[in-house]
Symmetry: C2
Subunit: 338 residues, 2 copies
DNA sequence: CTGAAAGCGCTTACAG
DNA sequence: CTGAAAGCGCTTACAG
């Protein structure tokens, strides 16, 4: 492969000149600039990134890290959609993406990950914090690497989804349809801050509508589809007067619908069921699911933009990405006779 | 951050010695080795990867590339499961993963991708070839970078899923249950080699069972859930005697089940429906879907192992990863009275 | 407006 | 068994 020196020789200038012309330094005559550019083209020169990284101290690599806390992490549509947003923005701005999924636990930090962080191989890091008790960011901060977190871990630069808004929108929609006997399928509130805030929003809407928040039936699952089915079975058995189920993620909502159907309830005729996340499958399920979109690709894109801003020396403010209510066919007004 | 030189000074040896000890060169006294290791530990030395890459000509970066041909690529569970397998193997063997999703089309190659390939930034490439007419591998071969393809593009080193076997297993299962009136929901056979081979397997099983292969009702979708529903509507209307539907991917199978249910057929009581891929949702759908697992993580792991073998100078043979029949509740024997 | 030269932090023949 | 020295291919003050 041709090097800078080859280009310089062919163009009849110094390597310094070639380097500067390629990095768009001003002050060069159009003629020089053109000579260099022509030589570059003729030789098919492409800069060696390792050399550039060593000399400039910048690798143009952004690492995306998410702790490998459970097997299904690579199939979590949310994470993948976020990744997509990050990828689009980074690629467009000339950065490459390194993927790291350190095996983190409460005590130990993955030694391979630690090496990577300290190796100077990345200009910045975007951490997808999907787990409440574990953060990949501590060694990053120690090393002084610019970082942006997506989620709730304490750090200077972060982007979050407007969970409280989402919870509010979701409950508000169900209330606006006329429902008053509503059950909630959640996960233990302390499990994750995002769940906490969604519940805050849900309860806020309920209170505004004059409901007794304490009296709302609630049952916890564990995010999985079967757990949603189990929760629905419990709630519908104990509270047969319910006309709506508000689920704090889509997978539990799908399970709840399946369970309700097996118990003889029709959705949405007899029972409204709404979810949260707008996973791809929500749109094609039968019936298509009413849910809250976190705009996951946007979360990723915004995080990437924020990090690139930090790399340019800026000090951006944290950002909360708004949620959207997506109304489909799993929600309807309660039947008048009820 | 401390450098090799710092370590050398502290240990009272040359940088060459430190470098060699760290790369496990033999011939050093236990004493020297220990001095070096102690200094490394005391200083918290971590090698600078950019410098190492420049000097050694190896970056220890593996690029995973899949053409960005449609928006949903980041939500394709298959790709993500493959990625998971690749990640596990690479991380374990000390390689880092770079993610690249070039925007490829029939004529033009993404210029950013081209730069990346020619920049010497990656030791090897794993290409996930999900699209029949477009390959990310050509510039890679030109540059002489070791590459492994997952899929059907012509290249020396590749791993494939045993599509014909999968098709055979799937049809065989349905036949073994006693079905003889079977419809096929596919996509246009020329759309992708993997589909072609699955159909070859399906027909082989049908022929072995004495069915008239030409007479089997078949309708094409486009991989999507709604298209599966449409295909089922057509087939069940035109051929009300069908007792089973063999779908060439899971999403179409889910659509087919939903459609059948809306038309008043019960699955599996009135109709057996089977899919292909074993996407995560297949296991929790109601009813859980009988399907073929491609063992996607295994595909990724095997591809990574193959590439690392090539990087070590080996010449591994292409590998076909076997498929597995996963029997769940969407398939059953036809009712005796039919 | 352009260039000479040092330096980024490693690895690797080559000597001894 | 260990070290001196060149070199990987760039960038960047510093001069002029």
């Amino acid at each position: 492969m041709p090097t800078l020196e080859d280009v310089a020789r062919r163009a009849g200038v110094s390597t310094a000149t070639v380097s500067k012309v390629l990095s768009n330094t001003p002050y060069f005559t159009a003629e020089t600039r053109e000579k260099v550019l022509r030589a570059v083209k003729e030789l098919g020169y492409v800069p060696n990134l390792a050399a550039r990284a060593l000399a400039a101290g910048k690798t143009h690599i952004i690492a995306v890290v998410f702790p490998y806390v459970y097997d299904a992490i690579f199939t979590d549509p949310l994470i993948m959609l976020i990744l997509q947003g990050i990828e689009a923005e980074c690629t467009q701005q000339g950065y490459n993406l390194l993927l790291s999924t350190p095996r983190l636990s409460d005590e130990a930090v993955d030694p391979i990950y630690l090496q990577l962080v300290q190796s100077g191989y990345m200009d910045g890091i975007i951490a997808i914090d999907n787990h409440p008790r574990v953060s990949a960011l501590e060694p990053v901060h120690q090393r002084g690497i610019p970082a942006v977190a997506i989620g709730y871990h304490p750090t200077r630069y972060y982007v979050r989804s407007a969970d409280q808004q989402g919870g509010y929108q979701l409950m508000r929609h169900v209330l606006d349809l006329g429902h008053r006997h509503i059950g909630i399928i959640s996960v233990p509130e302390t499990m994750h801050p995002s769940i906490h805030y969604r519940l805050v929003g849900v309860r806020q809407a309920a209170a505004e509508a004059g409901l007794d928040v304490q009296a709302i039936p609630e049952w916890d699952g564990d995010f999985s589809t079967p757990s949603g089915a189990a929760a629905a079975a419990h709630l519908l058995t104990e509270h047969p007067d319910l006309t709506a189920l508000v689920c704090l993620n889509d997978r539990m909502a799908l399970g709840a619908i399946q369970q309700a159907r097996e118990m003889g309830w029709r959705v949405p005729d007899d029972l409204t069921v709404v979810g949260y996340d707008d996973i791809p499958y929500a749109a094609v399920f039968s019936p298509p699911l009413t849910t809250i979109s976190q705009q996951a690709p946007e979360l990723g894109r915004v995080a990437a933009q924020m990090l690139l801003e930090v790399l340019r020396g800026g000090h951006p403010e944290p950002i909360e990405v708004p949620t959207h209510l997506v109304i489909r066919q799993s929600s309807a007004s309660p039947r008048s006779e009820s």
